[in-house]
């Protein structure tokens, strides 16, 4: 059999290289005459640059060149992180090195290029920076005060963007509600901490005018466009190669000062320049995520029916909005995903995106989802508590019915078809809910406090141009694939979706294999090089399987038709009566082999002279696909968390986690499950551990991997997963995304679980990460600190 690879747990061939120590990461690459970059960064959150003296640094051993804003910035067109569809949005122009002002602690001021990174770092210590300290905007509420200083030049207030969504009957819904539950929630800043830091090697060849950038990014085509436009090069002269990437998760698709400076330096010096952020630099220059304060209330009827939500989200984004996707997209998704799983008819969401003098925040895995989910589900649990309802029962009452689609949410999202009810039921069975509640009650009598929390979610996947394109961003909504039959009958597919270990290349091979009647082992997939693959969106917002898979499918079918037509000519047979299977053209009716693909390849390549006149012997097919139909393909699922809280120490133990997920057609069950598991842990990290801590002066105080707590094996639970499969009808393949699903609701389920454990003690927590201090404070064992944001 060779047509049933979609749906099978094929193993990843590229994993074998990593297991052998043969990864090919940007950080592993070394080019002749390559220079190493290091940056002198602002030590303070805000200040005016009085003087930068690089004399000693320039004379230091091994140093080839020192750049400042005055000597470097002129080669690059500044960038502005706004989009047209976010009306009234503002952000100051950015350039590579700080010019006049420093705007966060870590802002690059001087770039040093030396023969080794060590020598570049030596020289950094010799740069004399004279910066006049200015009052920094550290807190988003303070930023909005009258007479607050501005976070940067080029803006007229510290408000980057504001918007309101409101249904006409919102006030009436609250007026008639039997109950209103409410809460103020704080979601800490955290960051991606990809194990491979950001890395780039820019290699400009003045003899041909060719710029090649080896860049650890998930979106090479976007960077090809950015480099061409901002450095004034023809796109054909810019090649971006994204080799193996040591984790990305959204963090590596933003434009960073250091990467741009590395390209600029290579352009100016005409030789390869390498920048690899060390871990300390990562913490003060990679984008951070979240940082929201949300006030929310929910109106419910006496029977537990949710009538409306009213939400106010304030998110703090740093001194600039990121480019080219902005720092407003997350808040925009927060207010649009609130209450998404429920029938809830009325809604108001207000969003304020506020500047401050910290590292920029921007899109990171599950953009906006964890915030919307945690707030919604916390309020649903509070309503259940008020009405003495079981958390499953109140959700069963309110979740969208599986037969009630298509549906438009109160926030305007269009759902094609979701499976909340089936998912809820499946979760209930999988976790053994009844027995778990009994165990919880029994242990509580022994003074052991365990909690169970559940959280349904909706995930945005397969985005079309509605995300960025409509706002004027040059971010591709389509993806492209070129599939060809090689002379010996193997298959090659070059595709624009990229691989960061999630298994893109494997699932593309499976999809293509099924169109051409071969095994995936015979399909070689090439990704991540703008010179050798067609342009496309690459990897962001869950598009690899849904959009990339569909692109591959359509290209594969196109090639299938070409092969069959050619076979028809060779065999003097009707192509409609032929099909592809087992590496050959076979009789569609009998399955009997007529001619092998190897023979087709041989004839077309070496003996086209034997073909009938006018016969097209082309064995390459190209196809591009952009999602039509719905603007997004939403997926859904539900998660549950089982935790134990040590009420004397505030330490939480994660005992178990469950996920039921519906991502439509599953191409590879193994890879889907591992995406979910990884995503869950990326959601649990910030729920319990991860937080970028800042002092009052805007200094990040835990900017090292010893002090910033990432989730480790010892603290993470085993995760049980089940599926419901509701394919989208928008595509032939029917696949939707799954990359954000785990992260979307893990924290929400965990927060509900912790609060379930604390409930008999009259305590409640509404802030993540749920640290021992915050839990002990909620329990009244220790008093709240003098300041907020401890």
């Amino acid at each position: 059999m060779s047509k049933d690879h979609i749906g099978q747990s094929h193993r990843r061939e590229n994993a074998l290289r990593h297991l052998a120590g043969r990864g090919r990461f940007t950080t592993d690459l070394s080019l002749p005459r390559m220079l190493h970059a290091a940056f002198v960064r602002s030590p303070m959150a805000k200040g005016r640059i009085v003087e930068v003296d690089v004399t000693d640094a320039a004379a230091a051993p091994g140093v080839v060149r020192v750049f400042t804003a005055q000597t470097l910035n002129h080669v690059c067109e500044p960038w502005v992180g706004t989009l047209d569809h976010f009306a009234g949005m503002q952000s100051g122009p950015q350039n590579m090195l700080a010019d006049g002002q420093v705007l966060w602690a870590g802002h690059p001021v001087v770039m040093i290029l030396a023969h080794s990174r060590a020598e570049a770092e030596d020289a950094c210590e010799l740069v004399m920076l004279d910066i006049e300290d200015e009052d920094a905007i550290v807190d988003g509420d303070a930023a909005q005060m009258e007479n607050a200083p501005l976070a940067s030049d080029g803006i007229d207030s510290n408000m980057c963007f504001q918007t309101v969504l409101e249904t006409p009957d919102l006030d009436a819904a609250f007026a008639r509600a039997a109950h209103v539950v409410e809460g103020d929630f704080t979601f800490g800043r955290h960051t991606a901490v990809t194990l491979e830091p950001r890395a780039v090697i820019a290699d400009y060849d003045p003899s041909t005018g060719q710029l090649t950038v080896h860049h650890g990014t998930q979106t090479p085509y976007q960077f090809q466009d950015v480099y061409a436009r901002h450095f004034g090069l023809n796109e054909s002269k810019v090649r971006v190669i994204a080799p193996d990437i040591g984790g990305s998760f959204g963090m590596k698709l933003h434009v960073y000062h250091e990467e741009m400076a590395t390209v600029a330096a290579s352009l100016l010096l005409g030789r390869p320049v390498r920048f690899v952020a060390d871990r300390l630099e990562s913490f003060v220059s990679d984008i951070h995520a979240r940082d929201h304060r949300v006030s929310a209330r929910m109106a419910v009827d006496a029977d537990g029916t949710i009538l409306a939500m009213d939400v106010d989200d304030m998110t703090q984004i740093g001194a600039f909005s990121t480019y080219p996707r902005t720092s407003a997209a997350e808040g925009n998704q927060v207010i649009r995903l609130m209450g998404a799983p429920y029938k809830m008819p009325d809604y108001r969401g207000r969003l304020s995106v506020v500047f401050q003098n910290k590292v920029q925040t921007s899109q990171y895995r599950a953009v906006g989802h964890p915030i919307a989910c945690a707030v919604t589900e916390a309020l649903v649990d509070r309503a259940a508590q008020l009405l003495d309802m079981d958390p499953f029962d109140i959700r069963a009452r309110n979740l969208l019915a599986d037969d009630d689609y298509p549906h438009v949410s109160a926030t305007g999202y269009q759902f094609e078809k979701l499976s909340h009810q089936a998912s809820l039921e499946k979760l209930h069975d999988m976790m053994g809910y009844g027995a778990l509640r009994k165990e919880q009650a029994r242990l509580r009598e022994q003074g052991i406090h365990r909690g169970i929390g559940i959280a349904p979610f909706v995930e945005i996947t397969n985005p079309g141009a509605a995300f960025y394109g409509v706002g004027g961003a040059r971010i591709s909504a389509q993806d492209g694939a070129v599939v060809r039959l090689t002379p010996s009958g193997d298959v090659h597919c070059a595709i624009s979706v990229t691989e960061q270990g999630q298994g893109t290349e494997t699932i593309i091979a499976q999809v293509v294999a099924d169109q051409l009647g071969v095994t995936p082992e015979r399909v070689k997939v090439t990704t991540g090089d703008t010179d050798t693959t067609p342009s496309g969106g690459a990897t962001w917002a869950c598009r690899g399987a849904g959009i990339g898979g569909e692109t591959a499918l359509r290209a594969g079918r196109k090639l299938q038709a070409q092969i069959l037509a050619l076979a028809g000519a060779i065999l003097q047979a009707d192509p409609a009566k032929l099909t592809l299977a087992n590496g050959a053209v076979v009789d569609a009716a009998t399955g009997d082999e007529r001619i092998s693909l190897a023979e087709i390849g041989r004839i077309a390549t070496y003996r086209p002279d034997t073909l009938p006149d006018g016969c097209n012997s082309s064995l390459t097919a190209a196809e591009h696909f952009a999602p039509g139909g719905y603007p997004f393909d939403f997926t859904n699922g539900i998660q549950a968390s089982y935790v134990e809280v040590d009420i004397e120490t505030g330490i939480t133990r994660l005992l178990k986690h469950w996920v039921v997920e519906d991502c439509g057609r599953i191409i590879n069950p193994l890879l889907v499950d591992e995406q979910i598991r990884g995503g869950v842990v990326q959601g649990l990290g910030p729920a319990f551990f991860e937080e970028c801590l800042y002092d009052d002066a805007g200094q990040m105080t835990n900017a090292s991997l010893a002090d910033y707590l990432v989730p480790m094996a010892g603290e993470m639970p085993d995760i049980e997963i089940a599926h419901v499969e509701t394919p989208t009808k928008d595509t032939i393949l029917g696949a939707k995304g799954v990359g954000e699903a785990g992260t979307a609701a893990a924290g929400a389920a965990a927060m509900n679980a912790v609060n379930d454990a604390l409930r008999p003690l009259g305590a409640q927590i509404s802030q993540t990460p749920m640290t021992p201090l915050r839990i002990l404070t909620a329990l009244g064992h220790v008093s709240a600190g003098p300041k907020r944001g401890y």
Binding site: R12, L19, G21, F25, L195, G246, R279, G678, G714, I719
Partner: protein, 162 residues
Amino acid sequence: MKTEITLIVNGEAVRDVIEPRTSLADLLRDRLRLTGTHLGCEMGSCGACLVLLDGTPVHACLVLAVQAAGQRVDTIEGLNESGDIKDLQQNFHARNALQCGFCTNGMIMTAHALLSESTAPTRPEIREALSGNYCRCTGYEAIVDAISATAKQRATNAGAGK
């Protein structure tokens, strides 16, 4: 001033002249081009740079190359070629116990050392052993599964050999 050192890397005697400040990780990666040893934090917190120094896993970022003079260093490349980790590699592959692959070197080193000391580690013991190995992609469960499966296979094979 540069120092000349000799050490045995993956069974081959290697001589180099280096600055004393060069870490063992930088020697392996930059000078010997053994790039399977990765750098994730350069302060012993992530485990991506683990190598075997005289048979014992250590952080190559926390050892100066000059300190390793005269000692035996084995990297992922060497273990791969020797076949000592073949079953671990197979189980990691079968269980998809890696995604981006950047932590994998350290995970394999830790697993290799654990299984040489403990023939039947429990899941909590495996998680404990991995407590210094950071992985951002997998959520760890698949890694625990792969190590556990390897331990069981080895036990079965050892039993069958008796």
